[in-house]
Symmetry: D2
Subunit: 258 residues, 4 copies
């Protein structure tokens, strides 16, 4: 393909206005830059550090909003699922199902996602090598679905840091699946004593440029008009108006490496 694709949007569905603001802006930029765009937002967060964290506005309502975005802006959409039971429900609203990193080894979940016939994007567990993600691909293909993506999102590096290993891009591509770099969660600083995962958003550009140069097929970037007030992952989301200049640089690098 000529260009990389982009999976982007706010971490979690907070409400209709937020989705509209992000979809309007990002779809316009991606159209201009010829970047295929998939709108991302989670309808529920099931693995927050602390039980008191925000988890969503309600599954059906959030999924309905995602479906509305898809129709209004003519965009494919993606959301993550956490149990095999959620797969069919989510699949009736979105075009791609994302498997969270912690859950990438849950065979029943991978197979249920595969059986919906939707594209399945499996995030590499923080505890897994890139090479071993081929077993996730095999589980999904074994269930009759060849549309698999793999996403790098960093690997455990001591307790309070993640490190992105760029060797994982070619190693995961060797499984036959396109590989996405998650520029948001790769920068998490987990295990903070506050129970709120930290971050380092000024590094998003470094992570993204290196990924495109190393041959990543797609990028995953959570973005929000005002990350400081976001209800989840605010520490790492890119401010919406910084996305366009970043994508312009990345398109130039892409052209240099193709």
């Amino acid at each position: 393909p000529d260009n990389f694709f982009l999976i982007a949007g706010p971490c979690v569905v907070e409400g209709k206005d937020l989705l509209d603001e992000v979809a309007t802006k990002v779809s316009e930029v991606c159209k201009r830059l010829e970047i295929p765009y998939i709108f991302k937002s989670s309808y529920r967060k099931a693995n927050r550090t602390s039980a008191s964290s925000f988890t969503g506005i309600g599954d059906q309502e959030a999924l309905q909003l995602l479906k509305g975005i898809s129709e209004k802006y003519n965009l494919p959409t993606v959301s993550d699922i956490h149990t095999a039971q959620e797969a069919a429900m989510a699949a009736s609203y979105v075009d791609m199902l994302q498997i969270p990193a912690f859950l990438c080894r849950q065979t029943d979940l991978l197979i249920a996602a595969a059986e919906t016939g939707k594209v399945v994007n499996v995030k590499k567990g923080q505890f897994l090598s890139g090479a071993s993600m081929k077993f996730a691909v095999e589980k999904i293909k074994g269930a009759g679905n060849d549309q698999v993506l793999l996403t790098e999102r960093g690997t455990t590096f001591g307790y309070q840091d993640l490190v992105v290993d760029y060797r994982n891009i070619p190693e995961m591509q060797a499984s036959g699946a396109p590989v996405v770099m998650d520029c948001t969660h790769s920068l998490q600083q987990p295990n903070q004593t506050t129970g709120v995962t930290g971050g380092n958003p000024q590094m998003i550009e470094t992570i993204a440029k290196a990924a495109i140069a190393a041959g990543a097929d797609g990028l995953f970037i959570e973005t929000h008009p005002n990350p400081a007030v976001a209800k989840s992952d605010g520490a790492n989301m890119l401010q919406l108006d910084l996305l366009e200049p970043l994508l312009e640089k990345l398109v130039r690098i892409r052209k240099a490496v193709m």
Copy 2:
């Protein structure tokens, strides 16, 4: 308490004879050494590396066998669960529910386990610090269940190794929960290119002795009469007839530290 407790048994319920052989031997040894004993076997393995690995003999049949062991030998039993839906079912057969390490951040699962009223044993994720396991304890206590255990089972250390950090014993005890050392899975060597997790069983004794000296409240040891033919985790299970001499040494260390 005067002594440490032991959670032990074969990794997965392979059949009735295996459970009887292990329960007979281990319950006799633990009675003599005054070690409280909880019989462990998984009724299903849901997160094998490869989809072609053995996952169980059937949930109901395996759980029924566990209940039979409990009654015949007068032993509490434990098995792991992987979804919120499994919690109530498993709780009608066993006395303790174990949350797998990969799933220790899934809030719905923790709460479902807590709501059964059974003891809940949460294994520390390979990607989590000991200190951050207090949030798992809070999720369970917040659901009205004060019977929580935490289990150390090693932390991601490069792609193909885990390391046990003994600082996690006092750090997890600071949450108020008793702490178990998993001497079996701590020795896993994950991400092998074969798709079969490797191991290092000659280190079980080192791991166990250090854990008791560092103040662990309990030990988790998978054991099998013939690990070489076991259907899961054979690379790390302790051969059954080596358990008694190991426990004798550990009881001596326990007396020295209390």
Copy 3:
């Protein structure tokens, strides 16, 4: 041997009074508990994070003080060296030469230390496995000196933490060398933004107990009457009056494992 041995003293030679206070107290305790004792203090610190840190009172003066302690209290002494040139000089004052962890791969330094005929204690690099320390032992034995010790002092675990891997005790013992656990530097928290290495001294007891249970032949513990005013490594030294109760517990564990 019946008991473990102890290498202990203040991190760096600050002056005569400090050495006397520590030697008096520790030698008396070790005599009572039948622990062979080697007095440790560095005559110079060559690898401080920041160039403005204290490095010593002068080599000759510090070494002369160490020799005085050896004679007055009838104790063997140890200090670390940083270059091949220092080996012969230091060897004329002390009984054991210690190779710092960062330098454990410098062949010329290991051979120069070996050629003095003194005992050589090589600290495991933070970047090395226990198993690979056999090459350090071979370098020293190849220079005609069979008196080698190896010391575990933690391994790089992310940027700001070290983790002690107890598997390294039997793995280093497989080289034929007795193995020491460094309970002080294992607890360092390096790469702090202040340029002063941090620590976690409340974990000394956990580290030491686990080491003795796992079969360590010796312990290394830096101690100071008042760590808060120490000129190096204050963040991890054990307060002198806490040493005796700790050693009593450790002797009990040692008896349980022998």
Copy 4:
């Protein structure tokens, strides 16, 4: 500057013919691509895993050959030094002194290198964060030398692997020093049971592309006409005739990011 610079050559001075072959080829390519080129070869290897490994042809002879290359091809040269005593000697033959990663915290060595007035290239220790390398820069500038480079060469990631953290490029640049990516040693697989460090040379291109995209100022690439017969680091050196096509791609990426 318009382009990145290149530090390249065979790992160790094996003989005159090898140096000539590499210098001829690389200087010609770099001239065409407008890449400033510094010829690199070590006159001695002082920290080989095993004492029986090749360490050099003799210091004076090797340094004399380097000086000959400098004059014949009009190239600056670099070699590494291991002790403060070597600094002045090496400085009379080469233009840049390189401090090995294991030795980057040895204050005396850094200062001795600084005092020669030559450019000093300090490799980041496998055990150090990028941010903490500012203390190395301060030590050198404090000795009156402002010509400092810092080199990323991977960080300890379990025992048998290194990982390159691209965040270290901007973090080390924040010290004011230009930052070099060592595409050779970053791919080492240390602590092999054979005593010969392993490697993964097919990843050189991935590492290099990501580095240029992330803003590295220079690259370090060891190259040899026939790595399979090289006397040191053969597992990771780039075959000489693969250098030109790689550099062409990198120059394109550089133009896209500037």
